[in-house]
Structure formats: C-alpha cells, structure tokens
Symmetry: C2
Subunit: 426 residues, 2 copies
C-alpha cells in the first residue's frame, strides 16, 4: 500500500485526491482544517449578499465519498517530519509515503497584523459573512444616526487593493448602493454612498493590459466607485484609513491587497520566497525530498516563465491533476515529466453585467465578456450539487436587482453571557 | 399624523406593519434587533443542514420597502415609558401614539442558564448555525478519534423536549445518520449514532392526540430515535446529561424545552404570567393603556378558551392583522371588537416524508399528512423571494437524500489573534 497524504482541500488538493481516487494499492488521506471545499472565485458574491455560503461550498467528505480509498479528516497539521515521513496533526501522527502540500495562502498585512481587525480580508466563508455583516450594518447604522458626520462615515466604503478581488468587491458595493438598496431606506439615500478603491501601484489590475484596466475603471465610475491609484495605505484604525497625509473616515474598510503563503513551508525549514511560498523543482517536488510536493498558492514555481506562476484556480487545478498523474506513473515505473501550465486566459467581473476577458492576444470587455465569465464559472462549479440552483438564483438577481442573502448574522449565538472559565464542547 | 411604533419583526409585527402600510395619516416605525424576518417553522431545517439561512430569512427592510409610511430601524428597545408615550432605544427615544409589542420569546432553562452553553436552543439563525456546527463537528471528531469511548460520546445526540421542535430535530438527526452521511465516513458507521429524545412529561407532543403522538413515536423509532418519556433532565455539562440517577455521555445536547417571553413586559412592570407573558385584555391591549398592545409569543391571551393561546405562527399572524385593523377602525371612529383566534389545526413533521396533521376532529398521519405540511409551509413562505428555489432545493434533497448546507462555519473570522483592548467597529 502506498500512503499519500494531502494537506488542504482547495482546488489543488481536491484535484490531486480525485486523480488518485480508485487507484489500486494507493491509500489517500486528505486533511483540511475546515469541512468544506470552497469555490473561491465566487466568494465575493457571498460577501456581497448575492449568494449563500452553501451555494459555493460543499463538504469535502461528500465530494470524495465515491472513492473508497480516500479518507477525509478534519483537523490541522501542526508540523512535518519529512525524514521520518510523518505529519503531526492535532489528533495524532499521520505517516505517508508521498506528501502533497496544498495549504493555500492567507492575506498579508505587510507587517501590520493589527489592521486585520478593521479591514477583513476575503479568503474564507467566515470572512465573507463578516464582510457581509459589516457592509449591511453600516447602512443600518447610517439610517439610525442623527449626526450628519457619522452618517457620512457609515456610508463610506474603502477597498484596499486594486486586483480582481478588490475590483469585484468595489463594483458589487457600488451596484448594491445604486440599485438593490435604493428604495429600502427612509432617512438616507444609499446612492450617496462613497466607494473608494485604493491601489498602491500606478494602475489597478496590473496583470491585465492597460486597455482592459482602463475599461474597468470607467465601468467602476459608472457604479459610483472612485479608483485612487498610487495610494498606499499607511494606517488603518476604527475610524478610517490614512494614505500618507490624507485621511478618509470610513466605517467599512476591506482588505484585498497582499497575500502570504501558509506558514507550514517556512516552519518546516523549506526554501521559501518573500511571500512564504515554497520554492519547488520542475516536477513540483521539494529539493532533496522527491516524495514531497507543494502545489497551488503555497508553491513558487518559476521554471516556465522565470516568474512565479500566479495564485489562481487554474494553476492549482492543473498542478493537482499533474501530481496525481505523476504518482500513478511512478507506481507504474514511468519517469517524471516536468509540470507545464497551460494558460487559458484571465478574467474579472464588474457589477452585474460587465467583465473583462483576456485570452492570449484576444481582449474583450462588456456584456459578451460577462457572458463568457458566467459560463466559465458555472462550468467549473461542478461537484457542487446546486449548479442549476445557483444559475436560477443569479438569473433571479439579474432580473430583479435583488440580493437574496442580505442577512446580518452575528457571531454570538448565546442569549446569556457565558461563564468565562469553561470551554464549549467542540 | 398618528405614530405607531412596532417592536419586533416576527410574524405578529410584520403582519401589523403590513396592515398599516399605506394607511393615510399613519406613520409606522418598526424596530427589531436583527435585520431579518425569520420563517421560524423551518428554522430546524437550517440547523439540520437542509436549507441555507437565506432560504428562510429575508431583510425586514426590503419586505416592507413598498410602504412609504413604514420606517425600519435596526436596534434594541431598552425601556418603555408608557405614560410619556416614549420608547427608549439604544440609538435614542422613539415617541408613539400607539405601541405594538411583539418581541417574542426565548428559551427558558428553568433557572439553569448555565446549561445554555452545552445545550443551545433554536430561536435564531445564529443558534441554528451553531447547532449545525456542533452536529456536523461531532461526526468529524468521531471519525478522527481512536478511542472507542470518545467515539460513542461523539455519536450520541440528546434532544431535550418532546414538542414539535424536539421531534423535528430528532427526526432530522436520525435521518441524516441513516441516509445522508451513511457513505461519507471510513472509520465510523454513522448509522450507529444514538439519538435520544427526552421528555419530562408522561408523553411527547401533549398538544396533539395520544393517537398521533404514538404514531410519531413509531416513526421516530424507524429513524433510530429513542423517545424517553417521564425523563426530566437534572444536569447538563460538557460531558453529557443527567436524568436523576441516570447519566448519558453525549457530545451534542440540544434544547427544545421551556420558553420564556421577552423580558420587556416584566421590566415595564406590566402584569405577566409565570412565563413572563404580558396578560392582555380581550382587544390585546394592556390594562390601563388602551394604546399599548402585546401580541404573539409575548402575550398571554386567555379570553377565548380560559387557557393562554399557544405561541404559534398562526396566533401571531392573526393578532398582527387584528391590531392593524383595530387601529385603522379607531382612526375611522369605529368601536373595538374583541380578538378571536380561528384555529386551523396543527401539524408536525418527522423526517423526510412523514407528518401528523390535526384539523379539529380530523387526524392524519404519514405521507399525505406530509404533503399537506409541505403545501402549507410553502404557501406561507410568501414574501420570501425564493419560494420556488426552496421548493427545488427540497425536491432535490428529497430525491437524493443529500443535504446541501452541510457547512461547519466557525465563529472567529480573524486569522490573527485580535488585540484584547480594542473593540471591532460595528
């Protein structure tokens, strides 16, 4: 029996597990901290009340239940002992012959971890519902207050980071203010909300062409979003943000800037780059450990273009497929081939019917690009039971401008104040 | 202008607001702590991962946005000054000519508030997702552990209270173990889970006939649920429950027993019954304050049968309609008529295709009763955008035994430990 341990149930880990599912004499264990696989590209829709968490997340366990040789354990890997071929989890040791690390990345606050409290990032369902709670609560507070000063602060939304996530969040807030909420309030006019997208660099969407980025900026302006480039944030607190000598009072600040790989690579004394990503060989293995692979956002793969591959879903999926195949081949005594990423283009969406798509030299924008974006995202939502339901939900939102999931759900479920000393049962 | 203040956006409050919506020279303010109206009768489906929160909850604000004379404020009423005709909210004072209290009820732990931590009740979305988290996490922990003792404890589910909610929860856990999860685990057999429903009284479902209650007990047994009657809980802690000299180790305990009205009535020195419900006159007003009404679960109305009306959705809805009409009539100088509840029967559901229905002398059980249950619940889900989507979701679950919302979502969204001294922005 060859024991394969996969750490992480994102796009890379799931594709590796599926590629090894049903393979003879292979026993797969997948460990993830959470019980669900997340369709990250649509996470901003949960944060913006367009979709429910269950529309874009499914239990890892049930997605893999068809493979009798795959075992799923919810838990956290604390450390790795590569020479002993053992991973140490909170619930005990897990031995392996092959190890596949696909732990992903989290946000980086560039050394200002204290900013997280005031400016949540968007990587998990927990963060998405927290962002939803903050955005909707800001409108509620604005409706309640009698101070014009406070009202302005409540109706100011600052998004830090001009990449695809920042653009999607800013576009959705703009749209929500202008259409969805426009008639719901009596004391305030939601269309007066200020939405500001801050980008530290000279232009937003640096991974896209200048032409596409300029198109996006115009689309955002039509939704009432102002894009401030060359605007690096120097401070974030409960009151708002500072950009050098400038100061904006904002009740809601969202973080869509830097990214940092999972710390497990660095903690294992593997070679990492500045963002904590593990430097991998052409076959995605770690130098000196041909049985240990690092995939997806956690890996720094530079052998194709000289630059690291971006932390996107297509890279992670292709790498998962690749490593599963490599292990199958190796068990059949075939030699390893280097990994090759096939770039199928990139896209970003702005509001309810606009997007930009770039496939090689082909550049598209507007409604047709948005249709392509829609078809691609629905296609890849496979494995999720309710692809049809999500499409219906979207169709409904599209026609009515409604957002069905506008719920403010608090963190505390208890009615009584809990006694301070005891831990609730897990 | 006649100012009407409604406290609470449940069935009673919403129906009162709708009945006063668009009425000339009336200005309505509805205050609720949460931003959403909840379709309580289906809340157990959220706790049991069958539906998403957004399927059974909708923003109060958008449900009432069509009425230009209705204003919605999210917040909490701290106290009432009936003689000054003013309610004191956290955000300021709200004056009124008419006051409609419809604040509902919460669970009562019979003087053992410390039990709440170990045995959550089911009244809010927060509690429903907490119950979902606990139930699903218990299966995960059972799969991880190597101790047979611990495994047994993780796979034991105790539900306290043999009313409709307890029956629905127990039936759903039994069904989930037997069908939904049966193939998802490798180390445990979910069908071995112990599900125990505890009822302090001599039989469960005392509001139904003995015949229907016996039918339900047999249905529950087929789903692996044991019903223990005459079993009053004497202690609940992190390890399990005690029933007198008996002790059951259980990682998951759910509370579906006592109920207690919102404390606002008692705090205002109004006459209340043992459960904190405000004793009301035949027209639902409070003695000495003909302009103050109490409705729904918060009211104790005994003028029809001698016993208080039960805390159900039909009672709350009819009372909401009634008070709106009373105020409209009074503004047109018509005399008050006493409230009369029209009993249309009662029902409860067990698992995926069984229910009991009692309408007067008519008693039904089994699949036909379940179809009636389904039609009635879908009919009353009006005002929720996605009635069709919920039906589709159910149809899908019904055919596949899947439960789409099996997500464990944690309370903490931060990655970093927050600094202890500062409050997160609201």
């Amino acid at each position: 029996m060859t024991r394969v341990l996969i750490v992480g149930g994102g796009f890379a880990g799931m594709n590796a597990a599926k590629g090894l599912g049903g393979v003879k004499d292979v026993e797969v264990t997948l460990v993830d901290r959470s019980n669900h696989h997340l369709f990250q590209p649509l996470l901003y829709q949960v944060a913006m009340a367009g979709l429910s968490p269950a529309d874009i997340a499914a239990p890892i366990r049930s997605m893999l239940s068809g493979y009798r040789n795959v075992r799923v354990l919810q838990g956290e890997i604390r450390s790795l002992e590569l020479n002993r071929k053992v991973a140490v989890a909170e619930f005990g040791e897990v031995p392996f012959d092959y190890l596949i690390l696909a732990c992903g990345a989290k946000h980086s606050y560039f050394g200002h971890d204290e900013w997280e409290e005031y400016a949540p990032g968007l990587k998990s369902l927990e963060q998405a519902t927290e962002i939803r709670r903050r955005v909707l609560s800001a409108y509620e507070a604005a409706e309640r207050t009698t101070s014009a000063e406070d009202r302005k602060r409540y109706l100011t939304f600052v998004i830090v980071g001009g990449g695809p996530t920042g653009v999607e969040l800013a576009g959705a807030i703009g749209e929500m203010s202008r259409f969805t909420l426009a008639k719901d309030f009596r004391n305030i006019d939601p269309t007066q909300a200020r939405v500001i997208l801050l980008e530290a660099g000279p232009r937003m969407l640096p991974m896209f062409s200048e032409q596409s980025a300029a198109k996006v900026a115009r689309d955002l302006e039509q939704l009432g979003v102002q894009v401030w480039t060359s605007s690096a944030v120097t401070k974030i607190d409960a009151d708002g943000v500072e950009i050098g000598a400038e100061r904006i009072r904002a009740a809601t600040v969202l973080w869509a800037a830097g990214v940092q790989a999972s710390p497990l690579g660095k903690a294992t004394a593997l070679e990492v780059d500045r963002q904590g990503r593990v430097v991998v060989e052409p076959d995605l293995s770690v130098k000196g450990h041909p049985n240990v692979f690092v995939l997806g956002d956690q890996a720094c793969f530079t052998h194709q273009t000289g630059k690291p591959l971006p932390g996107t879903a297509p890279v992670a999926m292709q790498q998962g497929h690749y490593v599963a195949r490599l292990i199958r081949d190796e068990l059949a005594n075939k030699a390893r081939q280097p990994f090759k990423f096939v770039d199928k283009g990139q896209m970003a969406t702005i509001g309810r019917s606009r997007a930009i798509v770039e496939i090689g030299r082909l550049k598209m924008a507007g409604f047709v690009a948005w249709l392509i974006w829609l078809v691609v995202h629905i296609y890849y939502l496979t494995g999720f039971k309710n692809r049809l339901l999500v499409v219906l939900q979207w169709a409904w939102s599209y026609l009515t401008f409604h957002r069905g999931a506008r719920l403010i759900v608090n963190k505390e479920w208890r009615l009584q104040t809990p006694p301070p000393s005891s831990d609730p049962p897990k």
